[in-house]
Symmetry: C2
Subunit: 212 residues, 2 copies
Amino acid sequence: MSRASDQAYDKIRAHLLSGAVKPGEQLTEYQLAQVTGVSRTPVREAVRRLEGEMLLVRSESKRIFVADWSRDDIDEMFTLRKMLEGHAAERAALRLKSDEIDRLEAVNRELHDAVEHDPPDVTRFLDANRTFHEIITEAAHSPRLGQVLAMLVEAPVVLRTARSYSVADLEQSARDHDELIAAFRAGDPDWARAVMGSHLRRAFHTFAGAAE
Amino acid sequence: MSRASDQAYDKIRAHLLSGAVKPGEQLTEYQLAQVTGVSRTPVREAVRRLEGEMLLVRSESKRIFVADWSRDDIDEMFTLRKMLEGHAAERAALRLKSDEIDRLEAVNRELHDAVEHDPPDVTRFLDANRTFHEIITEAAHSPRLGQVLAMLVEAPVVLRTARSYSVADLEQSARDHDELIAAFRAGDPDWARAVMGSHLRRAFHTFAGAAE
DNA sequence: CGGGTATAAATTGTATACAATAGGAAATGC
DNA sequence: GCATTTCCTATTGTATACAATTTATACCCG
């Protein structure tokens, strides 16, 4: 994509995920143009993208607001992710080559490290986690699945500042990934789907706690 | 919705679905601005939306092309729809009130009429079909599911000009809908999901024939 | 001729000015 | 004092000019 609108997208997204702006808060194109240092034109494109990812929403009168997620919203979203990522895991189990699984293992080692750090490095955890899931989605060789998931995956992360991740949750996530890798090595699609399902359901309860 | 960008969206979309432009064909913003009668600015927004719905794609160098769907693409898309609309049907079976089911019946009568017309009125069929599925998605009360499905549902219709719908296919579709309505009346989510699954799989084979 | 390079054309990307619209505040009437 | 209308301001929407980038063409040299 274009340079300025990408820049705007990255900056606005980072801004939202940093927690510097609160859910429900209004944003204006002008304001975002100031912050990102580009004109309103590319800002508009970035905003549209972020709307697509449901990090921003528009009021009836087209004003821009930071998305505000209810517990039901989060439940719904994880239900969809469970379906779609479960499917992705199934396909990945049938397609992943051993060197790709090696890569998953490397990413998950990184993730383990982030968890064992004191205090746990949540940002590094989230980055590694994202990469881990992206590799699986990628391996499913299903471009539309990838596109659809892209708009679902990041959304709840906007809430991350609202909660303190418990070390136990992070550790369990890392262990889920370990088991997922085992399922991939075994080439067992049913196993992979099942692990992915429980992994995401647990994640839901972690996030849901933050939205009460 | 008389905003220029909405106008542009509707016109471009209709243009694509009319079959006036062929899959793989390049379009330019300037050209689309001429056709739609608005400036490039709203055209760009419309194009971005249609990209999101995967009716348009961009080359590596950001040029705009009419999406070209392979048989595998269509398969993948119907697989995703089966998952997501199956889920929607399940939820709808638990939530639909009898007056809403009445409405589904009315829409499906319209659909039957379109099929029995000689020759079958494919446009009316597709409109009624879209409405039918929208009511179900709506009844699922899952906004994100709705958003995700919106980008999947229309896409293969761009291929419709490439095939002649067989009357048998259309009739079977109408009967599938009848059975779906029965499942809703019974309030049986499993039945609803199963019918939706076979309905969409059949639809896949219908469309897949067009993409060979 | 063929290949590579310079040049022109086509296309998308960005900034900015202005238009349209919605929201809020002030003024008015009762 | 409260509701309603009017006007002003804030915000989004559109057109257009220009910049950047990519593709196509023409040209030169071997």
